[in-house]
């Protein structure tokens, strides 16, 4: 799912970053938001964006940026089994 649709406080793994804007993708990579990174959407912010956690790092991202990041979250049913 897109990071923008991810529930808050849910740990997920980045599986893809849109290549539509290479400069944006590169900057996200430099800041640690790259394929394989474990990311948590901490909370929604004023203006429609969100704060995400990558380890100890915190990034404030606009909604359009959140939409450019695909994450995989553990299936609750499977993890509960």
């Amino acid at each position: 799912m897109k990071l923008s649709d991810c529930p808050t406080e849910q740990l997920g793994s980045v599986v893809a970053v849109s290549d539509r804007d290479p400069a944006l993708g590169r900057r996200l990579g430099e800041l640690g938001l790259r394929v394989g990174a474990r990311v948590t959407l901490l909370r929604r912010t004023s203006g429609g964006g969100a704060i995400v956690a990558i380890g100890d790092d915190r990034l404030a991202l606009a909604r359009v940026v959140l939409r450019a990041v695909e994450v995989e979250v553990p299936d609750p049913a499977r993890s509960g089994a």
């Binding site: 944006l24 640690g32 912010t45 004023s46 704060i51 606009a62």
Partner: protein
Amino acid sequence: MTTTTPPGQLSTQLVSLATCHETNVAPARPGAPFVVLAGSPNSGKSTLFNALTGAGRAVANYPGTTVEIGSGSWQVPGIGETCLSDLPGTYSLAPQSPDEALTSQLLSTPGLVDLVIMVCDAAHLGRSLVLTAHLRALPVRLLVVLTMNDVAADRGTVVSAGALANRLGVPVVKVDPRRRPDTSAIGAAAAAALTAPVPRPINTGLARTCCPDCPPDCLDCPARILAGSGDLDDAEALFSWITETTESVTTRSPVTRRNWSDLADRWVTAPVIGPLIFLAVMWGVFQLTTRAAAPLQDALDALFTGPISAGATAALGAVGLNGGLLEGFLVTGLIAGVGMLLTFVPLMTIMFAILALLEDSGYLARAAVVTDRLMGMLGLPGRAFLPLVVGFGCNVPAISAVRVLPDARHRILTALLVPFTSCTARLTVYVMVAVTFFPDNAGTVVFGMYVTSILLVVLGGLLLRGTLFRAMGTDPLVLDLPPYQRPHLRVLAASTWLRVRGFLQTAAGIIVATVTVVWLLGVIPGPGASAGWGQVPVDQSLYAWLSGQLAVIFTPAGFAEWHAVGALVVGFVAKEAVISSWAQTYAATDGDLVTLGHSVLADFTAASGGHPQAAALAFLVFILAYTPCVATIAAQKRQIGARWTLVGVALQFALAWLLSVAVFQVASSLPGLAL
């Protein structure tokens, strides 16, 4: 050790910085080794720079750019004086702004820099390692300094300097620049690095074929880095190297500690509470830059216009030189000019201290998040809100506040928009004119001026975005949030002092010279004057004559009248002087029997063909839109350079004239306003 000449593709401006004496950017002896501090934003780079150079810092725009670089002299044991420059923060050598481009250009130019001190944030090591990896793949002398170790320790993270040094093959030193660091370790390491041969580059995941003559595992060609850095696929090997490096040099405590920054951000960036907290902070900033500074400004003003001017007059009288041109020059020109300059000192000190506080505490980044969408309408990041709010108090500190914006294009655009925010100095003119011309609706007129001011900022922003700044993209919010920190008084004081000193150095000449020129115009006789130099009445002076000549321009705006235009000339120096200029010129020509308001009303009625209210509105709009004061120009020159400052002044005059003409033409055709 000397620097070598960079290759031809770079301008000679690079050499100017490297040799440290061609410009006033870097005060160090010619031929001193050129050392630069590089690192990501918020890594503690500038604090370390201040600790190494002390008070000997010069902050100036890099030649030919609006990118600000701090440079100073740094004594390295065993080496002597070096030229140390604090480069704009960047995450890698792949630039995304003019500031980052300059850093990238300087770092990747072979032979230009003698030593790069890479400042790595131990609390965000992976992020700092991107630029470190780029630099380590280049043939440059590199010294890594680990900062923010206390913040990392609070999170249960410890970075091993020894392990990192082994991994990188360059020296690594741990410091905490925010707590008065022992810089001797850095000095010793720098001395060793400067005398050692340039280390061979290592493969940091960037090795690939770059040019036909290079082998596949080439490690010596700088072109490889720049050629590959923009390619996301190529970045995978780099990111793997960073992950491996981070994990091999870091130990983490298994205990998860409470993150106070996360708790605070629940409120500070929240959808409703966040903007309310932001507004409360802005209200506080506005109050401090207006009310708290005002008594100090008034005291300084009284000191210069009172005892100091009287003392100078008495001293001149004692030696028989009073009453002449010398007294006029000293008291009305020089002392008044210096006095005006110094009245800005309390204001600027408060403003710079607030900026340092907001930045150092980590709140400024949160404010940028809260206001991002609003400012995005003008193509500006959220941080631009701060200078625009401060502008409603005083434009001078507001323009200095554009330094909170990391991108030079955003700084220029914001600095061009700040003069349209209606400062309190203009309020005195609004009130006097509104009470005189609109006695029953004065409050509404003054309120309307503030609404017009906001509209001007928005319209000016849209106009500039559609023309001069068309190429400037609107980047979505991607912001690294630093943890909240307790501000350190020593860091705040050092930062404030450096900025105030820099402002005074730039503004002194412009303000004193302009005040002196206006005084000079008042004592030089105009054509046909009945008296000579220094004796001429104001209405026969060159000032009155020039104002009369310029008045023609304002015929379509309805106030082609020399007193009004003369007030605009004085208002160019400072809006506070508009009313006193009117009082002075009318007192000189009309005597004390006619009140100032009646005199202005009578002249506006005559000049406007019977539409004084329409002319008054046009005059107010001109007062709002044209150059606020000469100190604003000085602040703009410092922040965005002379060329953009001139563009701004031209834009302000053009917009002011067009709007005032439009207002008069429309308003004079309305029956309700035709007296």
